[in-house]
């Protein structure tokens, strides 16, 4: 791990949401947002603070697709594969993105930790199908070409 974990992020979240069991998901969401994944080191820390077992926190972290135990890229590209997007050809978009970034079903994040490409079951943006979401922004009616262009422009901006 290149950086030491900054636990003050968790302390802040615990102050905001309360040190109780029911705050766990909100606190994990904050951690996911800041660290871009759930580092191993935060489990014993949260277990102690929230008086929960590490196994319990691990259970919650592995239950929800949105939490990741591996570090995600700076840009998390979510290709919607809900019914509407799927019938409007989301899979070719996914394939084009994976090809562009040298990723696969198993390898979801680029080595430089810039991009993560994953699918989601529905973004709730069916009228804009096929849709892609990058971090928290929706890109409507994509094609493989516009998706690749989007990635390239994000690369250039860095």
């Amino acid at each position: 791990m290149e950086n030491k974990i900054d636990f003050s992020v968790l302390d802040q979240a615990i102050i905001e949401y309360g040190n109780q069991e029911k705050s766990l998901i909100a606190i994990l969401q904050r951690a996911q947002e800041v660290y871009r994944y759930l580092p191993k080191e935060i489990f014993p820390y949260l277990a102690e603070k929230l008086n929960l077992s590490e196994a319990k926190i691990f259970g919650v972290a592995t239950f929800y697709e949105n939490f990741s135990l591996e570090k995600k890229g700076k840009y998390v590209v979510k290709v919607c594969d809900g019914t509407a997007c799927h019938v409007r050809k989301s899979i070719p978009i996914l394939e084009a993105l994976r090809k562009e970034l040298n990723l696969s079903e198993v390898k979801k994040t680029t080595d430089d930790l810039m991009f993560t490409v994953e699918t989601v079951s529905c973004l709730g943006a069916c009228s804009s199908a096929p849709a892609v979401m990058v971090n928290n922004e929706i890109y409507p009616t994509m094609t493989p070409d516009t998706a690749v262009a989007l990635i390239r422009s994000l690369k250039e901006n860095n």
Partner: protein
């Protein structure tokens, strides 16, 4: 108020504050099938086997259904049978069905229900038996995820009753499994080895680690002398499995059986317990007069020691430095053997955590050899007796071997919650009359409540005592002691609810069984003429023969902690 009834299968059943319809039906003698329900754990409602049908024909899980006056339900209808069979078929499709070589064979709820519900064919393909599904990292238990039906009893036991939380559900959907944090080996988790998860697992997903083969090898080697000590709680838990009544004290027959199995000598750990009582009482008196921290916690229970090391290291110096009876007795036996064969010492315990205690560095001699070479649980020794083809029921009683055959009732009751305390009180009481001893039993140390309290006069001092079993109860008590809400001088801790009679290594039994087992121990105590540990002349003589240095070396221990 008038009595309130519920009509179950046409029977009017009085509602008397039952927790749910399942309990109500069982009270009426209707055994509704269930995998995930346990009267002492929270209600989970996962397995759906306990569904019942109401008048409108809709189904509800009886474990999570409150008794309701006037309600009419049926527990065995065509619809329910169809649903239950389907549930079983689906579970069986996802279960490694290598029943013939499964340690749980014959004692498995899934096997039992598949038979009862006449499941002779499963329509779905099964490729559940997989290499790598087993976790053998623990010296106490073996986990096998390919056998797991996700009933979650182990999870609830570990978290709710023991406050350990070593395991929980992880992942989701078809990938869901019971796992430690990061799905690592259980040996690297906070598991204390109490084995209560194995005691509630309805299938073969968590079982006691079996070390019988190694003991058979030692017995079979003619150049090896193999002796064995048997813990108090073992003798009252053999009956049911060996064709006798649950709870009957069977030490005499067990000694005969163990000799027939091939052990060279058989001893009673109660002897070690008497040693512990005398040493521990002296230590306690010392602490009372300012020599060491109070409250003093008892130290017999290895799962408790591990729990304290993990979660309450600040209390480690409050734990008595006395070794457990097993570990006091073992070095004495090792020294007593003067023959020229290799000496292997085996201990038969009701306890899976003792397997861990046996391997701790603190209990090895100068050459690094453990004083107790192998710890077997009651379960394993029952299987050995069966394997040897011994007709246990027909056996005559035998006595333990010289020179350690002398025991007292005090040592015997170590196996039940409150027993250690009662033994210490008997010793401390100056009056040994029957009446005085009986009065001790009324101080509140007996019974299965999770926490018991008593105040006893020792000399001119009022001594406050707590007796706790179950590690969650223990945690609550420790937190109160820490915050200063309560004060005690002496706290007896046993990890398993009800004490060793209900240990993780005992044969799996319904909850009532532990009462029979406890009664059995008190019965065994009843027939002992000597009730108090200092009446054990052999123990007194042995202790008198040791100087302080020797005592420190083989009777005491300082746990280093694991952090």
């Amino acid at each position: 108020m008038d009595k309130q009834y519920m009509i179950i299968d046409g029977i009017e059943v009085t509602i008397e504050g039952e927790r749910n319809v399942l309990e109500l039906a069982r009270k009426a003698g209707i055994d509704i099938p269930a995998f995930c329900y346990d009267p002492e754990l929270s209600i989970y409602g996962a397995c759906r086997m306990c569904m019942v049908e109401n008048e409108r024909g809709s189904l509800e899980a009886s474990c999570s259904m409150l008794p309701k006056a006037g309600a009419v339900i049926k527990t065995n209808t065509a619809k329910l049978r169809k649903y239950r069979k389907m549930i079983l078929e689906l579970l069986l499709a996802n279960h490694c069905r290598d029943c013939t070589i499964c340690p749980k064979s014959g004692n498995c709820k899934l096997q039992e229900f598949a038979y009862k519900f006449n499941i002779t064919d499963v329509r779905f393909p099964n490729n559940s038996c997989q290499l790598g599904s087993q976790d053998k990292s623990s010296v106490s238990i073996v986990r096998d995820s390919s056998k797991c039906i996700l009933c979650g009893k182990c999870v609830r036991m570990c978290a709710e009753v023991q406050n350990v939380g070593a395991i929980d559900y992880a992942y989701r959907g078809s990938k869901k499994k019971i796992a430690t944090a990061f799905d690592g080996p259980i040996a690297n988790s906070p598991c204390v080895g109490c084995g209560q998860c194995a005691a509630v697992c309805p299938v073969g997903a968590i079982v006691v680690k079996d070390d019988a083969d190694k003991v058979w090898d030692a017995i079979g080697d003619k150049n090896t002398y193999v002796d064995v000590q048997v813990a108090p709680a073992v003798r009252v838990a053999l009956g049911k499995e060996l064709g006798l009544e649950e709870g009957t004290p069977l030490m005499g027959k067990l000694v005969t059986a163990l000799k027939e199995v091939g052990f060279d000598a058989v001893y009673d750990t109660s002897f070690g317990a008497d040693m512990t009582v005398l040493e521990e009482a002296n230590e306690f008196v010392g602490r009372l007069s300012g020599n060491g921290k109070l409250p003093m916690f008892t130290s017999c229970c290895p799962a408790w020691i591990r729990f304290a090391e993990n979660k309450y290291p600040e209390f480690l110096s409050n734990i008595s430095t006395c070794r457990s009876p097993m570990q006091m007795f073992a070095p004495v036996l090792k020294e007593a053997y003067k023959g020229d064969k290799k000496h292997v010492h085996v201990a038969i315990m009701p306890c899976t955590a003792k397997k861990f205690e046996g391997k701790r560095d603190e209990f090895k001699d100068k050459d690094g050899n453990p004083y107790v070479d192998y710890v077997l649980t009651t379960q394993e020794v029952i299987r050995m007796i069966k394997e040897a083809g011994i007709d246990f029921k027909a056996l005559e009683d035998s006595a333990c071997d010289n020179p350690f055959e002398e025991i007292t009732g005090a040592g015997v009751i170590f196996g039940v919650t409150g027993g250690v305390t009662e033994a210490v009180l008997r010793y401390a009481s100056s009056d040994k009359s029957e009446k005085a001893l009986e009065e001790i039993t009324y101080t509140g140390v007996r019974g299965f409540e999770g926490v018991k309290e008593a105040t006893v006069k020792i000399g001119d001092k009022d001594v406050k005592i707590a007796v706790v079993s179950g590690l969650n109860n223990t945690s609550v008590l420790l937190d109160k002691i820490k915050s200063g809400d309560v004060y005690y001088d002496l706290v007896e801790v046993m990890s398993c609810p009800g004490g060793c009679v209900n240990g993780g290594g005992q044969p799996q039994a319904e909850r009532e069984a532990r009462h029979y087992r406890a009664d059995g121990l008190y019965k065994a105590d009843g027939v002992e003429v000597k009730k108090s540990s200092e009446q054990n002349t052999a123990v007194v003589k042995l202790l008198a023969s040791m100087d302080e240095h020797k005592k420190h070396e083989i009777l005491h221990v300082h746990y280093k902690g694991n952090k």
